[in-house]
Structure formats: C-alpha cells, structure tokens
C-alpha cells in the first residue's frame, strides 16, 4: 500500500516536472519563434491533453468484522491519459489516444475477475486504449485500440486492438479493420472466480459512397471468431462462438430537413463452434460454415422524419429477429419490434418547448404464447412564462405485459411518473434569487401472476432549491431540502435531505473551489432512523496556462437504524481523486 502511494507520488512528481519542463521549453520556443516569426513559418500544431490521476478509496466498517457493506471502488488506481494530435500540415495529422489504468477492475464481460493480466491481456483489456490514427488527406491508418462504429446493426460497441484503414477518396468510402477484441482467459474456480473467455478475432469492412450531410450508401460486413483452444481450463458457462453480419445502410438528407435512414442486415451466428457441422442448416461460405447451433436471422430499421427550427417530427421502426446476433453489439437484446413517434415543438418565440415520444415495443415477436408488449410514452413541456417564472412538466409511462406460461394470470407491470417543476427568479441590484420547486409522483403497479392482485408502489418526491447569485461577489452558494416517501405493501421508506454547497474562486481566479455538505435522515417502517452525512470538496488549481491540478475529496458516513443486525452498524468511506492535466496548445506558433 505504502509502496503504491510512493510510486504514485513519484509518477505525479515526474509528470509535473515533465509538464513544467515541457512548458518551459514551450515558452522558450515561443520567444525564439517570435524572433524568427517573419523568417520561418512554423506549421506544426499540437492540441489535446495528457494527464495522470490517482484515485484512493478507503472503507471503515463498524462493528469490527461486520461485512454488510462492500467496497465499491478500487483501493488504489492510477489512470494515464495521453491524447495529443500532431498536425504537421493542412493534410497530415497524427492523433494519439492512449488511455490506460494500472490496476484491472473488470466486473462484467470477458475480463471479469482478472487480477494479473499478461501483456496481451493488458493491451486488449477494455479499460485500456492504445490507438494511433495517422491521417493524410483522405487516407487514415488505424493502429491499436479502435472503437469503430460502422452502423447500428453491424458493429460499433466493442474495442478492437489491431490494424486497419479508413479511405475516403472523393465520395467513395472504404474501410477495413482486423484485430483482437479479447484475449483467451483461463477459467479460475476461485475465489475470486474468473469466468474466463476465448480469444476473439475480428474482421470488418465497409464499402460505399458518402457525401456528408447529403447521403450515405454502404455495405458492411463484420465477422468475429473465437479460438476454442485459447483458454485452458476453458470457461464453464461460455461457449466459443463465431458470427458474421452483413448489412446495407442508406441515409438520405433533403435540403428542407427531411431525412430517410434505413438499414437491413442478416446475421449468421454459431452459438457453439464445438457442435457438429450441419448439412441441413444454411452456411454463408466462405465466411462461415453452419454447425447445429448456427442461426440465420434478419434485422432492419427505418427512420423517416423532418427537422426544422420550430418543429421536428419523426417515425422510427426497428425489428430484430429472434436469432439475430452480432459480435459487434454483444449486449443487443434481439427478438423485438419497436415503433416510436417522436416530436419536438418550439413555440411562443422559443419560450415554449415540448418534446414528446410515443411508441410500443413487442418482444417475442414470433412467439404468440409469450409475446410481451410494452407501451412507452414520454412528454416534457417547458414554458418560460416571464423573466421571473418558468414551468416544466414531464410525464413518463412504461407498461409491460406478457403471458406467464403456466400461471393463471399474465405479467403486467406499469410505471407512471409525473413531475411538476416551477422556477421563480427575482433580480435585485446585487443579487439574483432563484427558487425552484419540484414535485414528482411515481406509481408502479405490479400484478401477481398467481392471485391476479395488483400491488401499487407509490413514491412522492418534493424538492425545494434556493440559489442566490451575487453579481458583485465571486461566491455562489446553493441550498436545497428534499423529502422522499415510498410506500409499498410491507415497506415504507422516508428520506429527508438537507444540502448546502458553495463555489468560489481564489488565488487571482487561478483556483476554483467547491464544497458541499449533505445530511439525510432515513426511516424504514417503524425501525429507528438511519443517518447519512456526506462532505465533499473540489479544488481545481491552474498551475500555469496549460497545466491544471484537480483534486476531489469526499467522505461519506452512514449509520443504519435498527433494521439490520448488528444494531448500530455504520461505515465511513472516503474517496480521493487527484491529478494533473496538461493541455497541448500550440496555435500561437502558426
């Protein structure tokens, strides 16, 4: 622990020294270049940032030995960022995107539970990015970690470490990328358990034509394939997979704001490459050969609408077949049909703004026995009646209905939320008073599939905020009081929160400070009260024009009522985040 802190301090000091040296060099260069200004025209331009941040977390629980509250951050973490863009000329740029952390903290996905990664696993871990994208005119070389989105139905959510190109001569479009999205990770029974993963190789390509803001027509193909021998012992619950998706995208934008977007896709996906080859199922040779676990299904989406200054209207329909699956969107939930109508209205000299959407989602589309329907409705209505008074009203509805197989009643859950938020502003000579009130009513009805009885879960939230703005002072305080009440059969939760914050500038406006105190009194049924106190502080100090030191400190004390055993259980958690950020900016050198 001490070694880590010393190491982090060393890193931080080294960083500051390097950044300061860089700055000194910059200023010397500035002077030299000023002198030679008329003789030499410097073309190199550097923008972007680099930085280092240390995060420390502490948790103290009482009584000793009680583990009812678990840590929720890594004890120590150091994050590095290096994202400069070197622009050598109008046509040639070299952007870097290096973001990485010292300690793996993966909880979900293929790297979950990994503690001592190999070099390859470190490089491809989604918490780290190492990307370089040199670009000359219309040709871009993509090296290292890339998060590439080709389209909504082909690939876009995963980071891949590899090599590729993005070529755009005139209106033509050609993209290709290949690499590894995850390394093989051995299963470990634990504790802690490591689920394990297979090494996954990815390929993707796009060919088409595009004129920005006018049209796009493109054909995409994306493939991923697991290496079954890459993990030993192999994961117990994960199967080695292989998938190919081919999609056709077309976007058209007309001058008067009318747009049309459509995409159709076919996926061929093998859920387990260890299953036997199947002569019966469709293969997509040469890309993929069918196994008995291979599925071939379709997806499509269409959006049509008109965008204007005062009025937007759009319709969107999206269908994902039950067997549609793509490596590029690993969490995509298929087997659904969505249709939504969206609108936005600006009226009354832009003092009234209405945003609304209405739609339905059908899950288990092809399965009449278990078809699930959801109604979705949202409305947000803001009106600025005068300089002193504005009102915001919002309403959200989300209903879910489905059969429940053998039970006498189907599933029916309906969530309704209504919010009203008036705001008053009074302007004086030296101060502006802002008073904002907010009331929210949330109702959640849930039907019991055995008895048919519906239980209601009602929540009331009331908030009062006061924000004085001093016109002649550099301080900005705010105060709020909140009341929260949730009532469900068997449980009543009441929370009352008092909060105060103060922001100010100091040291000739080089330092920005913000502190906040928050106290919450809670009560569950007839148990004794719980108490929660949170104190936090942000300090942003501008060491030089380009170098900033940002620090965030917070401590949270929580003491339970007698609803849990042992009585009097409490914990204190503290978080410290401090780091330096250097901003590259050589625009003056031009």
């Amino acid at each position: 622990m001490i070694k880590k802190i010393i190491a982090c301090s060393f890193f931080l000091c080294t960083f500051v020294a390097t950044a300061s040296a860089q700055e000194t060099t910059d200023s010397l260069l500035d002077k030299l270049k000023d002198k030679a200004k008329e003789k030499v025209k410097e073309k190199l331009n550097i923008s972007g940032t680099m930085g280092i941040t240390y995060e420390g977390y502490g948790l103290s629980r009482s009584p000793s030995g009680w583990t009812g509250y678990q840590p929720r951050r890594p004890w120590n973490q150091v994050r590095f960022i290096f994202t400069p863009t070197f622009k050598f000329s109008k046509n040639f740029s070299l952007p870097f995107n290096f973001n990485f952390a010292a300690i793996p903290t993966n909880f979900a996905g293929p790297y979950a539970g990994i503690k001592k990664p190999s070099f390859g696993q470190f490089i491809t871990n989604p918490m780290n990015s190492f990307g370089i994208n040199p670009k000359y005119k219309w040709a871009e070389l993509q090296l290292g970690t890339q998060y590439l989105k080709y389209s909504d139905l082909s690939t876009g959510d995963i980071g891949i470490f590899g090599i590729g190109v993005d070529l755009r001569p005139k209106t033509f479009l050609f993209k290709f990328f290949t690499g590894i999205s995850q390394q093989g990770i051995n299963y470990v029974a634990g504790p802690p358990v490591v689920t394990g993963a297979y090494k996954r190789k990815n390929w993707m390509a796009q060919i088409g034509t595009e004129k920005e803001g006018k049209y796009l027509f493109a054909l995409n193909i994306a493939k991923g394939k697991d290496v079954p021998t890459s993990a030993a012992p192999p994961p117990l619950t994960i199967r080695p997979q292989e998938g190919v998706v081919i999609s056709l995208v077309s976007d058209v934008y007309v001058e008067n704001g009318i747009y049309f977007k459509a995409e159709g896709a076919q996926s061929t996906f093998t859920k387990d490459v260890a299953t036997p080859l199947s002569p019966v199922l469709k293969s997509l040779k040469p890309f993929i050969e069918a196994h008995t676990s291979t599925l071939t299904d379709y997806a499509g989406q269409v959006a049509v609408g008109k965008k204007g200054k005062k009025f937007d209207l759009g319709v969107m329909v999206k269908y994902l077949g039950a067997g549609f699956q793509t490596i590029g969107y690993p969490f995509l939930q298929s087997d659904k049909l969505d249709y939504t109508l969206n609108t936005r209205i600006n009226a009354w000299k832009n003092k009234m703004n209405i945003v609304a959407s209405l739609g339905q989602r059908v899950n288990n589309v092809n399965n009449t026995a278990l078809k699930a329907k959801q109604f979705i409705g949202n409305l947000n209505w803001f009106t600025q009646f005068s300089d002193k008074f504005s009102l915001n009203v919002n309403y959200n509805n989300f209903g879910f209905q489905a059969a429940s197989s053998f039970n006498p009643y189907g599933i029916k859950n309906v969530s309704n939320d209504l919010g009203i938020n008036p705001t008053f502003t009074f302007t004086g000579k030296k101060i502006i008073h802002l008073i904002s009130m907010s009331y929210n009513y949330s109702k959640y009805d849930e039907r019991d599939v055995l008895t048919g009885l519906t239980t209601s879960n009602n929540t009331h939230t009331a908030l009062l905020t006061y924000v004085p703005t001093y016109l002649e002072k550099e301080i900005a305080p705010d105060f709020s009081i909140l009341y929260f009440y949730n009532d469900v059969p068997g449980a009543k939760i009441t929370l009352a929160t008092l909060s105060a914050a103060l922001s100010m500038q100091a040291v000739k406006k080089k330092m920005r400070l913000r502190g906040q105190l928050q106290y919450t009194l809670g009560k569950l049924n007839s148990f004794s009260n719980s108490n929660n106190l949170i104190a936090s502080c942000n300090i942003d100090y501008k060491l030089t024009k380009k170098l900033t030191w940002a620090t965030f400190l917070t401590t949270n004390y929580y003491k339970y009522g007698n609803e849990i055993i042992p009585n009097g259980a409490n914990y204190t958690e503290t978080t410290c985040r401090t780091g330096f950020q250097y901003r590259f900016d050589t625009k003056k050198q031009k």
Binding site: T49, R72, N99, T105, F107, A108, G109, P110, P126, M127, Y147, D157, G159, T237, R239, K271, L277, S278, V280, G321, G323, P330, F331, L332, S334, D335, R361, N363, N364, N367, L370, A372, F398, A402, A403, S404, S405, N407, I411, S415, T423, S436, S438, N440, S442, Y444, T461, L463, T465, V467, L482, N486, I493, Q516, Q518, T520, G522, I534, N538, Q581
Partner: protein, 295 residues
C-alpha cells in the same frame, strides 16, 4: 397341456425376438433449454438407458421423433445417417445422452418448425413429446417399444430496463438522495424465484459506455430476489459538468438475472451472462444554473 406349453413357448420366442432392446428415460428435464443445440452440453437434459439383448451383434439405432401434443410429427431422425449403438455385453445399461438420442445434424424438421430452428435455434414455445424407439440397423424394424416423454419449451426473455429510461437526465439534487430502478420480470415465470443483480457503473469522460461496463468496478452491485424495483441511495457527490469533454456525469446500468443455483437464467442468448441490454442515464449537477447536455 401340450397346447399350453406350445403357447408359452411361442409367446417366449415372439417376446425375445420382438423386444430385445428396452429403453427407459432416466432423466428428461420437463423444461429443457429452448436452444436445442444446448441440450448436448447439459447432462441434466436427457439421459436414456438401453438394456436387453439386441439383434445382429447387439447393435441398434434410435428412431427419434418429436411430436406436438396432438401427435403430429414435426421432426424425425434420418436413420440412414444416425449412429449405430451396441448394447453392453455385460448386461449393464447403456447410457445415452441428448447428442445420442437427438443428433441435431441428422434430425429432419418440417414446415414452420424447420424455419424456426434455422432462424432462432429454437422451436416455437409450447408443449412437445419426444419419442425414442430401438430399431434394427439394416431394415429399421422395431427392436423394442417406443418410449415417450413430454417437455415444455419457452424462450427465456431477460428483463427490459424501465426506469431510469434510456438517456434520462436526472436532477443531481434528487439523484443524490435516491434513484429508483425498475425493470420487467424474466419471462416466462421461472420455477424458482429469480435473483436480479443490479449493477451501476460510472462512465468516465474518456470511456465509451460499454467500455465502462466491461472495465469499471460497479458503484452499485446489489442482488434483489423476486422484486423488480430497487431504491438506491447513492451516497455520492456527483462530479460537476466536465468543461473539457462537454459531458454530463454518465452512468450505465444493467440487470443480471440469476437462477436458484446463482447461474445466469439463460446462457445461450445474447452475451451468455444473463445480462439485459444496458442503458444510460445522466446526472445534471448544474440544472438550475445552466442546463447543458452535450452527450
């Protein structure tokens, strides 16, 4: 008396020649995985015991059929391609599993069931009957009685996240005290109560949402049994609006649905982790002063 002896002898001969192989379903999960290809990976789905004396060197094939409850045959094994089995010479039962009894690569499905299997790997939800009969390896004549068992297939549908809805911008003052999470239940209703593991991850300004989900430690990681709502007291001070990246404090949340043995309720759909499609919500710390949302 001679006639009686002759009759008994005749019955014995017929019995020994017509019913030389006896099948017995030792295990048949009445609610097996909807993904038929997954049956072969699971020992608990189907086990068939074969005993008795087989013809032609104790060898036989299995004539497997899947029927709907009205008796319509929707799939049958292509006996020309199915494997040959031999009975244990010791008399001990031969243990056969799903891949032996129902080799998918040699099963011929019909009509809409074939289409459904090709597109989804599953059959339409409903009740089915699986029947297996031992047959001669050359002329496929029956060597024993047909054994049948009922089973029910239904695609497990993971929860849909309802609240906070996707890309909802929440007031920091309210969110600091409590955030309500709601989701739809697993469909169809499971035999044992489902444990919903709710996870909330902070998306750092330099991360994409899914990158955060796959790499960060969750700020909330809580298991809730058989309920579809959770009120979270975050006990956090949300970071202010990031002027550098122009992003609001962003969070991504998901639900992992676990069965009674703490395994994902479905390991064959989507990500294999039983995790619902995650969605985002934003916290606006400066709503009363300067509402901004550039995400």
């Amino acid at each position: 008396m001679k006639k009686l002896i002759a009759s008994i002898a005749a019955i014995f001969i017929v019995t020994t020649t017509m019913a030389q192989v006896k099948f017995n379903f030792a295990i048949l999960n009445t609610q097996p995985p909807a993904q038929l290809s997954e049956w072969g990976n699971r020992r608990d789905v189907l086990t068939l015991l074969a005993t008795g004396q087989g013809a032609a060197g104790n060898q036989f094939k299995i004539k497997t059929e899947i029927k709907t409850t009205d008796g319509t045959v929707i799939a049958s094994a292509d006996l020309a391609k199915t494997p040959v089995f031999s009975l244990n010479s010791t008399g001990a039962p031969l243990i056969l599993v799903a891949n032996d009894v129902m080799p998918l690569e040699f099963m011929v499905f019909t009509g809409k069931y074939k289409t459904s299997l090709q597109r989804t790997g599953k059959l339409p939800a409903g009740n089915y009957i699986i029947c297996a009969r031992p047959v001669n390896i050359t002329d496929y004549t029956p060597l024993g009685e047909e054994q049948c068992k009922n089973f029910y297939l239904a695609t497990t549908q993971l929860p849909i996240l309802m609240k906070p809805y996707n890309e909802e911008v929440m007031d920091a003052k309210k969110a600091q005290t409590a955030i309500i999470f709601r989701w739809s239940p697993v469909v169809p209703t499971q035999p044992s109560p489902v444990t919903y593991r709710i996870q909330v991850f902070e998306v750092l300004p330099t991360q994409s949402p899914l990158q955060a989900l796959r790499s960060n430690q969750p700020l909330l990681d809580k298991e809730i049994v058989a309920a579809t709502q959770y009120i979270w007291q975050p006990q956090l001070t949300f970071m202010p609006y990031d002027n550098e990246t122009k992003k609001l404090p962003t969070f991504i949340w998901t639900i992992q649905s676990l069965d009674a043995t703490h395994n994902p309720v479905t390991q064959t759909d989507g990500n294999g982790e039983g995790r619902s499609e995650p969605i985002l919500f934003f916290i606006n710390p400066d709503k009363d002063r300067k509402p901004k949302k550039d995400n």
